[in-house]
Symmetry: C2
Subunit: 163 residues, 2 copies
DNA sequence: CAAAATCATATTGCGCGCAATCTAATTTTG
DNA sequence: CAAAATTAGATTGCGCGCAATATGATTTTG
């Protein structure tokens, strides 16, 4: 019975639009949490969190990146990455070392354990794929729409030149 | 040079599927962060965070709910909600009181300020709607797909009776 | 009715995520 | 070349999000 006060206190906005934006925001919010919950039991045996796993995936794509580079790819800053990478190093998945040619930078490289985890990840991916229960086309469409959405949102926050 | 090792170390999974699940997961992850970033400057003037705003939206739909009820709707537990509601109360948006007929429960009700915020939210919604830059149909489709995805993921984590 | 089980909420600890601040290294300027 | 500006990381503080635990209140059981 959440539908009892349909137009009670909102009279400034077209009726149909009322909940739409909210629904999308909440849908993204919930989906992110649900994904996190789904990954957790799969990653727990490896002592990894979902954000840590994402960092590893990024390094599997391209090893030996800087903290800054990872942050740009992932949309995270050093306040998030520094402690996360420290924990990944303590867990033995990565190695951190200052770049000799530019001592400001820290190069993040995979250890043997970090590389080996890539093979373990195959099983995790299968589990996740099964859990989503989506067809390839649906996955592709969803992903593309979300990427487009993210792009528009971020272009609006980094520079608001839209009149 | 992220495309130099196309099939290097993964040989257990069909090629095209390789990155798809990852992409979806990362897309949801990124979209959630992007939404958060978009909301932040809009909510800051009111001293609200995005999760707090979501709780208010829930209460606008139905006021006078219990902590447990809110948690069920939002997929959050008391460990998250208790301190969040405390802050919402401290900020003057809600009131918390033990249910006299069952002293275990805490009833959460909107204050005048909490109700008033609903009108302020109209402007926020317009901004968000504009920031998404999506057509109504795209928003609806995206929302529906995400809800379906969340539903499947959660049904898998709460009870794994698939196969 | 009293003990046990259940239930609603609160608290603690840990890991993000982000703003703000700090330090050290490099680059730019004068 | 030295001062100023920029850059890369690290640190601190705060608010989620969640597991684990604790505390009272209610219900169930014996």
């Amino acid at each position: 019975m959440t539908d009892k006060r349909d137009e009670a206190e909102t009279d400034d906005i077209p009726a149909g639009m009322l909940a739409l934006d909210q629904q999308l925001c909440f849908a993204v919010y919930s989906a992110a949490h649900a994904l996190n919950r789904t990954y957790k039991p799969l990653l727990d045996p490896y002592g990894l969190t979902y954000p840590q796993y994402i960092v590893l995936m990024t390094l599997w794509e391209e090893d030996g990146r800087t903290v800054k580079g990872l942050g740009t790819t992932l949309g995270l800053d050093s306040g998030t990455l520094s402690p996360l990478l420290k924990r990944l190093e303590a867990a033995g998945y990565i190695h951190r070392a200052r770049d000799r040619s530019d001592e400001r930078q820290v190069l993040v490289t995979l250890t043997d354990k970090g590389h080996a985890m890539r093979r373990e990840a195959v099983g995790i991916r299968l589990q996740i794929g099964k859990a989503t229960g989506c067809s390839i086309e649906t996955l592709q469409a969803l992903t593309a729409d979300l990427q487009a959405l993210t792009g528009r949102l971020d272009s609006g926050t980094t520079r608001d030149d839209d009149t």
